[in-house]
Assembly symmetry: C2
């Protein structure tokens, strides 16, 4: 399973449909993975993305300490892992091992990426404004990679099958692409 | 075509799938509508959502002046209007009239909502952190409404058919809901 780097200026297209993502972080020897349905690209120049992380989350602490994180885009076939990771804290659990998520070494940051994901975006914290009970972690994109065959200018949705969250226990994926003429 | 108010605490579920939205604003006698693919809910308590708006956009000026905006969720059948609104500035054009978008009076803000949309969320600016070439307008949700029959705890995707943007001229909608057991 090989991943190819994609241009930083197009990296936001990995998450532009608004898919739910797995955020990985690492501080010291502790790795963690959490789910974030609240994410968006936020700047072209410089290339930035934003992720909303609850202030009480363990990942919040790890990102604050390390100043880095990776946004991984899981496919629908990882939905049970997505659900588990979104409903359990990694403070005292190794969710990678429990969900059989294999780590991939990232190129620019110490936090790991997740094998089997559609792609992943490696970020350094650019700013972290507070918004109610969450922090908006704005990440400067340092590197982005997509799984071989899944990204050519935009995602190949038929093959990629990203996860989208409606709320509660309800999820969906996207269907065929429509091109505006 | 009737709209029902939905609880503020569940309003974020109108945009939780990451759909592309139409942001409406008004300052003085000027109304405008623009497209934003970059949006996310950002807090439960208080209920907040965030929208990324390019600093050069006309809507940016109107929101700065008025401190208010409405996030409208268009269905796929409005895709040509979405495309037009995303590729033309409203500074010297009336996009409502050109795209045949009918305004609905919002309940709590002066900016109009758009008839035919799946639902809309009325916001007052809570904060507006800068992030590269965009501003993150964080909006406190003052009221939210969904079209009759399209929202019951979560969106009814089969009927709602929200628009999702991949990048460039490529769009898609979501498919059947999957419930995690």
């Amino acid at each position: 399973m090989s991943y190819n780097e994609i241009p930083l200026g197009k990296a936001h297209r990995l998450i532009n449909t608004g898919a739910t993502v797995l955020v990985t972080s690492r501080s010291g020897n502790k790795n963690n993975v959490m789910v974030a349905a609240w994410q968006m690209p936020i700047s072209f120049k410089p290339p930035l993305i934003a992720v909303g992380i609850g202030k009480a989350r363990y990942t919040h602490k790890l990102i604050e300490k390390s100043g880095e994180f990776v946004v991984n885009v899981p496919p629908m076939k990882m939905l049970s892992a997505v659900w588990y990771c979104g409903t359990h804290s990694g403070k005292n659990l190794d969710k990678f091992s429990l969900c059989e998520l294999n780590k991939i070494k990232a190129k620019k940051v110490k936090a790991p990426a997740i094998e089997g994901c559609i792609g992943f975006i490696e970020c350094r914290v650019y700013s972290s404004p507070s918004a109610g009970d969450h922090t908006i972690f704005v990440g400067e994109i340092l590197s982005a990679s997509a799984k071989e065959g899944l990204f050519d200018e935009v995602l190949d949705l038929k093959k990629a099958q990203p996860v989208h969250h409606l709320g509660d226990r309800f999820f969906c994926t996207t269907n065929a692409i429509k091109e505006v003429k």
